[in-house]
């Protein structure tokens, strides 16, 4: 810790200095990691783009059809070219960001929260609870996400929120399993036994000691999930279980472009690029955050 205290300081001052210092410390380390910064910048860029999409290109441009200008190559008028309906692909990608990013973030974070809580408890407590919960998860992960999505849509009707529910529920088992394996390793550490010996409550141990130590795996897993969620949403909406046309969404743009892959590759290229860049940015920022948060990594 480079926050060395040269002069004698009162107890509280030290604490404040310590806390504020830790955030400054994390930010300092993050700033040093150029790639993570680029990632953060790109993520903010996408979010801003999604929010102010309307100002950049009106939504109408993304939905008005022009049969005589179909599958046009990118020109300066249509930066990304046009899709099978003659609609401006750039506008569709822009307005698609709003849906895709929200799906990607909401489901990834929801899965992360639910997954890590269950995973931590199951990995730490073990015994009967571990068996029951893990077997229940085995049941859930056996159900294909498509069937689950159909059930959710049949019960609660279509729509973006229901799709997020369907995707989240089907991806929680995988996440729990990963967190559990990380927690199994951590629960064996001596300092955990020390806390237990010190009479700290299980909940406090879990959230103050166990999970922070699994933060590396959590972040990596969550960031990896984001692109996966966007693509799963596309598969579901392609089966008629999610976002209805003409609402643009990155995943369905890629799937629609698939048919013209050989004659008009730009239809798959640009939305695919968007998904890659978004998940690349999020993952790289996640990695940078992971390294910055890890106190032992003094480079």
């Amino acid at each position: 810790m480079s926050g060395r205290i040269n002069s004698a300081a009162t107890e509280t001052e030290v604490l404040i200095f310590k806390k504020e210092n830790r955030l400054k410390e994390i930010w300092r380390r993050l700033k040093k990691d150029k790639l993570a910064l680029a990632g953060l910048f790109l993520v903010c860029f996408f979010i801003i783009m999604a929010i102010f999409a309307e100002l950049i290109v009106p939504y109408a441009a993304a939905v008005t059809i022009n049969p005589h200008n179909r599958l046009a190559r990118p020109t300066n008028e249509f930066i990304f070219g046009t899709d099978g309906f003659g609609r401006d692909l750039f506008a569709r990608c822009l307005h698609g960001a709003r849906v895709s990013l929200s799906i990607g973030f909401i489901t990834a974070i929801a899965t992360a929260i639910a997954g890590s809580i269950i995973g931590a408890i199951v990995g730490y407590v073990g015994g009967k609870l571990d068996d029951i919960v893990m077997r229940a998860l085995d049941i859930f992960s056996a159900i294909p996400s498509i069937l689950f999505a159909m059930a959710v849509v049949a019960a609660m009707g279509p729509g973006i929120f229901n799709i997020c529910v369907a995707i989240t529920v089907t991806s929680i088992p995988g996440f729990v399993r990963i967190v559990r394996s990380a927690v199994l390793g951590i629960a064996e550490q001596e300092y955990i036994e020390a806390c237990r010996a010190g009479g700290t409550s299980t909940a406090r141990i879990l959230f103050r000691h166990v999970l922070p130590n699994a933060v590396g795996t959590l972040i990596v897993n969550t960031t990896a999930n984001v692109s996966q969620m966007i693509l799963t949403a596309a598969i579901l909406s392609f089966l008629g279980l999610g976002i209805n046309p003409p609402q643009p969404e990155w995943g369905s743009l890629v799937s629609e472009g698939r048919e013209f892959l050989r004659t008009a590759p730009h239809l798959t290229l640009f939305p695919g690029l968007m998904i890659c860049l978004a998940s690349f940015a999020i993952s790289v920022f996640g990695d940078g955050l992971r390294d910055a948060l890890d106190p032992r990594l003094r480079t």
Binding site: P67, P158, P246
Partner: protein, 510 residues
Amino acid sequence: MKKINVTVALLLVFSMFFAACGQDGTGDVSSEDRTLRLSTRAPMTTSDPHGTINIEDLMVMRQVYEPLFRQNELTGEFVPLVATDHAISGDGTVYTFTIRQGVKFHNGDELTAEDVEFSLQRAMNSPRVRSYMAGVADVRAEGDGTVIVTLDQPNAALLSNLAFVFIVNKREVTEQGEEFGTKLNLAGTGPFRFTYLVHDIEWRLEAFPDYHQGEADIKNIHYVPIADLAAALIAFESGSLDWLIAPIANWDGLVANPAFNTELSIGNHISYAVLNHLNPPLDDINVRLAIAHAIDKQAMNLIAFDGLAENANFMVHPDKNVGAPSEGVTYNLDLDKAREYLAKSAYPNGTHVGTINVSAGGYFERMAQVLQDNLMAIGLTSDINRMDSASNLERGRNQQFDIMTTGFSPNGDFDSWKMYCHTDFRGTFYNQYEGDVFDWEHMNYLWAKGVSVADVAEREAIYRELNDWIMGTATQLPIFHRAGAYVWTAALNVPVNYPNYPIVYEWSWK
């Protein structure tokens, strides 16, 4: 670093091995017994011709089994196969078929009238093909040469329906019993017979030497299921398939390629929009007429089918179906007229017409989005609900929808459109005309009259009136007839491509 070199070495070995293994099948086998390699979009579900109505299966069944008469999909004319001739009684309820003599089944048995009687009765009891035997009261074999089919009421479309009922060998079917259809059988009379059948992986046919019309030119056929169109096209272009119904998107590239023969033929199918006359604002005839004139068929054709389809004025294609009228009430793009009707309607400055339901996947989705855009042009807003086919079908059946973009294939006779209008077929159609909105009894009367008359010109007149009646309701709006894009290797000689079911018997190697 040593670890990484190992991985790189491994990948190198892989790629070298790639280059080593050659390509199977394109060797220059003598053209005489070269194998014809075809693909279907889904694995064959059954080898029982009475156990399926799905197109993928029927493509194979057509080569192995034969009906009494086959109807030529393009000309509508009937080709005698198992039967040589037929006679219809005065009141049109008794059909007498004379059975061809000397026809052999693939298992060597001689075809008898009893086999025909057994097959027709079996079809009547199989839920999947029962609808083709609609109206048939009794089937009786008389002696060896004739079979008598009696109807409870006249049905001129019987021959078109019977073209979908295949004749099987009674002994083979009864012997296999419950297992019939789940494995290889020799119960057919067609030009090819099964030699190898592993349902999900591959099925092979060979030319039947004792075929009653003479042995086929093509000696062997391999069918392989390829669900993905892009993969099938790549398989064709890389030479491991000889004939394919190609994806529309790559059509120009294929036409330009000298190594391939290509043919584009308009299919006997109609893609159309359905308006539910029970749900306001669609209960207002002027709104429906406005919509009818707002639909841009050319835009639909361009976007949904790359311009290769044929814009349609009639639900049933006049040249491809017996009795189909070629004149009558039609609607074409005319925005002024559309706005006129809208002005006369209860919603002069536009309204929200509801939801367009469509099954996910396929070009119907694209039609829905074009329709939405067309309606926007005259101030009618709508949204689209893309559903999986099961729920879409359910909604359609119970008339829980506002607008739908869908399609169906008539089977060669105008009467086959009846399933989508006649009130008896409650389970099949989307528009239930029964009720106090329309004079539906008159429509039913016309349907019944149409089939009770044998003379084609007379039938056409009746069906013209019927067509005008239905088009008048502006509930079923024809948009285009989709095209079949056929491509085959130059070494293959394909005289004609039928829209749905190729007849390999007519093909030959160059």
